[in-house]
């Protein structure tokens, strides 16, 4: 179990590259275009007519979807999002509204609580107030709610979702977002690409993400990926080294967690970091043993003799079988409290006395 935990931990360092980036036109009439582009087609356009047909469809998607494509600014950063309901529900990435899930040495995870104020910036630059709702940290999905009424009779322009499971490799898709962060006088920036074959990006697709070759960069996070019918199929999450590796949260994952996200639930992250800290980093999965991956060399655990590779098995009189249990135990403690930890090191069991430190010290 130990070796696998380490590699999972390494894989867990997939920080979202932060891409921290309705009016409905007349769909039926693509004027002057003889050939119509089949929106599910995965092959390349083969002649000028097909190029024109694809171009017309892409322009129609950009026109329809730009009014609902937004930028989000919140305390520590900026990203993008998309309005998906007429009362102003916005999909975005968890790391845009919650920051990176940091496995820091000082306490084990930056906390996140919903109902925090943030600002939504519309296509024309207008700013409206919004608040954060729930997140799923594992899938990097997040929701925001606009607090003002929309421009169309109190309603917001919004884009419906399509089933991401129906996407095929090679299917043409359009990305909108705010690369580099929102910029004055710049509407959402469009990129055209195709869905990548999941096998070519197993590192990401194994975790449930989808990959396209629409290039993304910091500021795009949380922004929408659209199919050629002009429906949302993904939300931008992270990138890899290659230009073809642009990773999105599939809409199907949002749908699974929908009610929880709307209700402001925080899936996969501590709501509030504890004030007392022991100064270690655990492996990623909260349900696994309290296996210590790193020890803060200036922290309380180091002073008490804890080493990387140790597994904490008891916290005072409580048996500890998971990181979650350890965190529950430390929540009620104060800096300066002394706790007795039983620690398994190889075949030995050690008893260590730890004086808890202060978070952020």
């Amino acid at each position: 179990m130990t070796a696998r935990r380490i590699s999972k931990y390494a894989a867990g360092f997939l920080f979202g590259m932060a891409l921290l980036a309705g009016s409905s036109p007349n769909w039926a009439a693509d004027p002057k275009v003889e050939t119509k582009w089949d929106t599910r087609r995965t092959a390349h356009p083969e002649d000028l007519d097909e190029l024109r047909a694809l171009e017309a469809r892409v322009k129609a998607v950009v026109d329809k979807c730009s009014p609902a494509t937004v930028a989000i600014t919140i305390g520590f950063g900026a990203g993008s999002g998309v309005i998906v309901s007429e009362d102003g529900l916005v999909l975005t990435a968890a790391h845009v509204i919650a920051g990176e899930p940091k496995f820091d040495l000082k306490g084990g995870g930056t906390g996140y609580e919903p109902n925090k104020e943030c600002t939504i910036i519309l296509q024309d630059g207008k700013k409206v107030k919004a608040k954060t709702l729930g997140i799923n940290d594992k899938m990097d999905s997040g929701m925001v709610k606009i607090l003002e009424k929309g421009p169309n009779d109190g309603k917001w322009p919004f884009i419906p979702l399509a089933k991401s499971a129906e996407l095929k490799p090679g299917q043409w898709v359009v990305s909108l977002g705010h690369p580099g962060g929102p910029k004055t006088g710049r509407a959402p920036v469009a990129r055209l690409g195709q869905m990548e074959a999941p096998d070519k990006h197993r590192l990401h697709t194994a975790g449930g993400f989808i990959v396209s070759n629409c290039t993304l960069v910091g500021g795009d996070s949380g922004g929408p990926l659209y199919d050629l019918d002009g429906k949302v199929i993904g939300i931008h999450s992270r990138i890899g080294l290659s230009l073809a590796t642009n990773v999105h949260v599939p809409t199907d994952k949002f749908v699974i967690d929908w009610d929880k996200l709307v209700a402001g639930e925080v899936i996969g992250r501590q709501p509030k970091p504890p004030t007392a800290v022991v100064g270690v980093v655990f492996a990623e999965d909260e349900n696994d043993d309290a296996y210590v991956v790193e020890v803060d060399e200036d922290g309380p655990a180091a002073k008490a003799g804890l080493k990387p590779g140790d597994t904490i098995t008891k916290f005072n009189t409580e048996v500890i079988k998971s990181v979650k249990k350890f965190r529950d135990m430390i929540k009620d403690k104060k800096p300066g409290d002394t706790v007795k930890l039983a620690v398994r090191r190889g075949t030995e069991i050690l008893a260590l006395s730890v004086t808890l430190g202060k978070r952020g010290a």
């Binding site: 322009k59 962060g181 910029k183 469009a190 290039t215 993304l216 910091g218 990138i239 230009l243």
Partner: protein
Amino acid sequence: MNARSLAAALVLAALASPASAQISTNPKLRAPFKAVVAKANESTVRIRGDDKDIALGTIVFPDGFILTKASELRGALSVRLSDGTEYEAKTLATHVPTDLAMIKIDVKDLVPVSFADTKKVPIGNWLASAGDKSDAIAVGIVSHGTRPLTFPDDIILNANRGFLGIMPVDEKDKDGKVIGAKISELESKGGASKAGLKKNDIIVELNGKTIPGQETLRALLENLRPGDTVKLKVLREGESKEFKATLTGQLQQSRGDIQNAMGGELSGRRTGFPAVLQTDMVISPWDCGGPVVDLEGKVLGVNIARAGRVETWILPSENIRPLLAELKSGKSTAAPKK
């Protein structure tokens, strides 16, 4: 780039997936564009410096006048035409704000381009880069219509220039006249620090040239490269001292810089243009300077910079046309004074 807009990036180095064909350079997609770029290709040339491909050029007058990206020109220049013949070239004039240069070869009866307006070009239109082969060198879409650049993208600088590793500010005498560039911050790993310069030193000369202020210092460094050594004359507590420093590349990279570097090389001079038409087309820095066309074959401008992971910037026709006469006549324009 706004530092606060970028959260942690991620270089998945060892775990990188195999490079799939990104649409821009995919040969299957480029095939139907052959006819689209055919005419513009006749007006596109390869520019070489010391026998290395450094840029593409756009023929703008029949008697051998070629437009290209000024900041890429170095070494003995030559131009290779689409028929394979090669000629010596000389630079007639450069325009720093647009980073355009007019070069001249001794050949007549070439086919010039004619530039079409970009004002009404919609987001989503196909674009193709003409090149020195029969194919389009890259294809993509209009990511954003022609727009002026805003801070900090409006700053003229070359990221590939040599750096001293200092933060200079203007030093004024008691009458308010600027007399040198004072070091307000020093990077410990930078060339200045390694040479023995200290905080509050005032640089007054670089390689014998007077430095009246930090703007002149930056302008001189624009033309120097990492590894170059410079002679500095410095005032320290009233005393004049001399130092020799070796320039380095940029030491502090923002997260945005790191992310933008993921996926390919960027142009050194990639900011500070008066206006740009933005595309997601992927081109190499040494392929800048050639014409970009729409599906009708109309030339909308020239590729002026590979500006980031998601963007190539095109200098639009509207910003090129007014400069053609003065560049042809040999009139250069330096960076504007702030």
